[in-house]
Amino acid sequence: MESSIEVKDLTKKYGDITALDNVNLKVNRGQIFTVIGPNGSGKTTLLRIIAGIEEPTSGEMYFNGVRVDKDSLSDVREKGTMVFQRTALFNTTVQKNIAYGLKLRGYSKKQIEAQVKDALSTVKLEGYEKRWAKKLSGGEQQRVSLAMALALNTELLLLDEPTANLDPKNISIIEETISWVNRERGTTVIMATHNMFQAETLTHRTALLLGGKIMQMGTTQEIFGAPSKDLASFARLENVFSGNSTMLEEGTSVIDVGNGLQIEAPIKQTGKVTLFVRPEDIILSAKPLTSSARNMFRGRVAGISDLGSLVRLRVDAGKEFVVQITKRSFVEMGLNLGSEVYLVFKASSVHVV
């Protein structure tokens, strides 16, 4: 596959601090590529260098196969756009904010108006043209920022933590827009995030960045199918338990995590292990289930939080589990605090780190 962006031996130093340490990566055209890592791992610096607004200390970058230097920097800036984590907007109307980049590219007044309208409808802000950009809510401002980039229809879109600190409604609009622009326009997207869930659901390939170094890179399945210790060290994992593992004759193991809970996992390992189960991999049932799933525990609902179309429940089953179900299931099951429920999950849903 043709590469959109390729960086070789990229290093960036700020005085004594090394923000990026010999980074090598290749992003294919038309893909969504995620850089995942904790705060301060160098994600933003990497994106800024790719966007052509920061210079690396050493290393090379190729855009569409052409080496990027001072002369071709304007090409990257014209064909790639970055949306910053801290929303930056010009102190004027939404219309003029979005029109800025189009004016630089010499579009006619009519074209500009049409493209502004188009971009606003993509981020579900129809009719916001005359509104004062800086007076909008945080989520709306972030969507305007995204619209500013979308209106330019650039082949490369760089997103720095596009949904950090936003509410579920704004998050889902932004996530839908990202996958739409990639699917419908074939835009290459490079996104920095510390949200593992987002990286997993939206993207084709993922790089794990820790302390300025790429620790792991591969398809999303490769990275998240078997999360490494590096990934688990910062990703906000839920349902993490530790305990003593005993091998079974069937070739799996049972881990005693305390309080009478014995979790079966597809590993052949004895001794102390740490495991996790994703909230969305757990089936919630009102009655005991006869199924192929190897793990079933009885518990009571201890907490409910509404995430819009989804509901997250805390279930006390000796140990506390977080479970995610749809709002519809939640309503149909008539769940309340204290309701008795059964947690069911397959041994293969248990990940050992």
Binding site: R77, R86, F90, N91, T92, G101, A149
Partner: protein, 216 residues
Amino acid sequence: METILEITLRSIAISGTATLLSASWGVPIGILLGLERFRGRFIVKGLFNALLGLPTVTLGLLLYLVLSRAGPLGFLHLLYTPLAISIGQSILITPIMVSFVTNSIESVEPEIKDLAKTLGASETQASLAVLRETKSGFLLAITASFSRAIAELGIALMLGRNLVGKTRVLTTFIALTTDTGDFAPAIALGVILLMIVSAVSLTINFLQRHDSWSRA
């Protein structure tokens, strides 16, 4: 006897000229200090900040010595002319002009320049985008400078000498008629001076409410 209107208009003309003169070098210096990062920038900034409280009589004395017949620029015969007052006031208000412009540029979010760049702007276009965000800062610099110029006494007195029909301005007239015990015209001119300064501030306040992008 010259009318109050004449004195008022002369004051506005002299201090207006001083503001224009000062802006012609103060604004570029302010922009340079605000946008560029060079060695010694903080020292230059500190110098202008320190000069904000420059005493008018000290500056007046200094310029008197330079412009007087025996002084280095005495051959220009500028002493006791309106232009001498304008020049003196323009130097007086330069630190105000520079500091206001620099501070307003620095108060623009640093992301604005990056934003312009990633949307396709060149280095120059990105700097212009930053300046556009500071338009109200420029207006404030101009008004604060003009108000300081028209309200000062020391320079107008020492370099103008309150010559009737020539260099008499609002502040020198007020000071000298009060001296002779003639309070009525002094109070009238005092009120006019106050009105000019307030009117300028109000106008700027009104302009600031307008979209700085309206003519973009």
